[in-house]
C-alpha cells in the first residue's frame, strides 16, 4: 500500500494568504486567508487557529476555525473543535462538546431529498422503534403495535 504524503504546519508558523496543494495537510499553527486542498485531507490540529475559507476533500477540525468550510466528501468536527462559519459537505459529523455556530448544507451531489412520506399520507405511528438504524432511508410502514 502506498503511504500518503502528509505535511505538517507547526505551532509557531503563521501564514497569511492563500494556501493550496495536493498533499494531506495538518495545521497546528495559524492561517489567515484561504486554504485549498481539493483532493486531499486537511486536519486542523488542536493548536490550529484558522481564519480562512477552506476547501478540501475531507476536513477534520480539532482546533478553531473562523470561516466557511466546504468539503467534497465530509467534515468532521471533533469534541475539541470550534467552528464559526457555514459548512457545506455531503456528510458532516459533529462530536458532543464541539462548538459550532453557523449553518450546515448537506445537499447531495446531483441528488435531491430522500423523500419522506407525505404529511397527509397514511399515519406512521404504528411502526416499532426497536432495531431500527438511527440513519439511513425511512423504511416502509409495517403493521405492528405502537412502541410507545
Amino acid at each position: 500500500m502506498q503511504a500518503r504524503d502528509n505535511v505538517n504546519i507547526g505551532k509557531s508558523v503563521v501564514i497569511k494568504g492563500e494556501l493550496s496543494g495536493s498533499e494531506d495537510l495538518t495545521i497546528e499553527g495559524q492561517v489567515e486567508g484561504k486554504i485549498e486542498l481539493r483532493q486531499n485531507v486537511l486536519t486542523i490540529g488542536t493548536n490550529g487557529r484558522i481564519k480562512a475559507a477552506i476547501f478540501a476533500k475531507i476536513i477534520v477540525v480539532q482546533g478553531e476555525v473562523h470561516g466557511d468550510i466546504t468539503a467534497s466528501e465530509r467534515v468532521d468536527i471533533r469534541d475539541s473543535g470550534s467552528v464559526d462559519g457555514d459548512v457545506s459537505a455531503p456528510r458532516v459529523s459533529i462530536a458532543d462538546g464541539a462548538h459550532f455556530r453557523g449553518s450546515i448544507d448537506m445537499q447531495r451531489q446531483g441528488g435531491t431529498s430522500a423523500g419522506a412520506k407525505p404529511i397527509d399520507g397514511k399515519p406512521a405511528e404504528s411502526r416499532p422503534v426497536a432495531a431500527r438504524p438511527a440513519s439511513g432511508p425511512i423504511p416502509a410502514p409495517v403493521p405492528a403495535a405502537s412502541a410507545r
Binding site: S103, M106, A114, P118, I119, I138
Partner: protein, 215 residues
C-alpha cells in the same frame, strides 16, 4: 496493610489540586415519537429544505436530518442566551437577544426546531418569538415544539436527540433555575395563531410534542 502504607505515603506528598469534573449529562432511553414522522414527511416533500434549529448543536441530529433530507440546517442555540441571561440575572434583556439570533427574512424557512425553548421564556418573549417564527416560515412550513405541562422550576436543559425516524431520546444538563411558563393547549393555539396544529401528543414525561403547519 499495604494499602494503609500506600495511603500514608500518599498523604505525605504535597496536596494536589482537586479536579472538578464537568456535570454529567443524564441520558434517557429512546421513546417512540408520533410527531417526528410528520415533521420528516413534511420536509420530505421539499427539495433541499432549510431548517432552523433553535437548540444546541447535536451531532446526531445534524447527521440524521442531513442524511434523511439532504437539507440545509442553521443552528442558533437560544438556550445559550437563556442561560447567560439567567446567570447574569437580566431576564429583561432576553427577548432582544433571542430575536437578534433568529433570521428576519419572511417566508425563508421550511422548518423550525424549537424543542422546549418556550418553557424557559416569559409570556411577552414567547409571543415575540412565536410572531417572528410565523413570519419567517414558508407556506407549508412546519414548527416542531415541545411544551411542558407541569408547573415548577426548571433546573435542567433537555437535549432532544433523534434516535430514528420515529424515536427520540433526551439528555439533560444542569441549568440556572428558571420558572417554567406553562401554556395550556388554548394558549398554545393562540401563540401560533395562523398556523394549523397538525399533531399534538402528551408524552409520559408530561411534555406535549406538537407540530404546526403554515397553510
Amino acid at each position: 496493610m499495604a494499602g494503609l502504607f500506600k495511603w500514608r505515603s500518599r498523604s505525605a506528598e504535597p496536596v494536589e489540586t482537586v479536579e472538578v469534573s464537568a456535570p454529567v449529562p443524564v441520558e434517557e432511553p429512546a421513546t417512540a415519537s408520533k410527531v417526528l414522522p410528520k415533521l420528516l414527511a413534511a420536509l420530505g416533500r421539499q427539495s433541499h429544505p432549510f431548517i432552523l434549529d433553535l437548540g444546541p448543536v447535536v451531532g446526531d441530529n445534524i447527521a440524521f436530518f442531513g442524511e434523511q433530507l439532504a437539507c440545509k440546517i442553521r443552528v442558533e442555540d437560544l438556550f445559550e442566551e437563556i442561560e447567560q441571561c439567567a446567570r447574569a440575572g437580566t431576564p429583561d434583556a432576553l427577548g432582544q437577544r433571542l430575536l437578534a439570533r433568529v433570521p428576519e427574512t419572511p417566508a425563508s424557512v421550511d422548518a423550525v426546531l424549537c424543542w422546549d425553548v418556550f418553557d424557559y421564556l416569559d409570556r411577552p418573549t414567547q409571543q415575540a418569538l412565536a410572531r417572528r417564527l410565523i413570519h419567517i416560515l414558508r407556506p407549508a412550513g412546519v414548527i416542531y415544539v415541545f411544551f411542558g405541562a407541569k408547573a415548577g422550576e426548571l433546573t435542567v436543559y433537555t437535549r432532544y436527540i433523534v434516535a430514528g425516524p420515529e424515536a427520540l431520546r433526551t439528555r439533560s444538563y444542569p441549568a440556572t433555575p428558571t420558572q417554567r411558563q406553562v401554556l395550556v393547549p388554548r394558549d398554545v393555539e393562540r401563540l401560533f395563531q395562523g398556523l394549523k396544529m397538525t399533531e399534538s401528543v402528551l408524552l409520559k414525561s408530561n411534555t406535549r410534542e406538537t407540530i404546526f403547519r403554515k397553510p
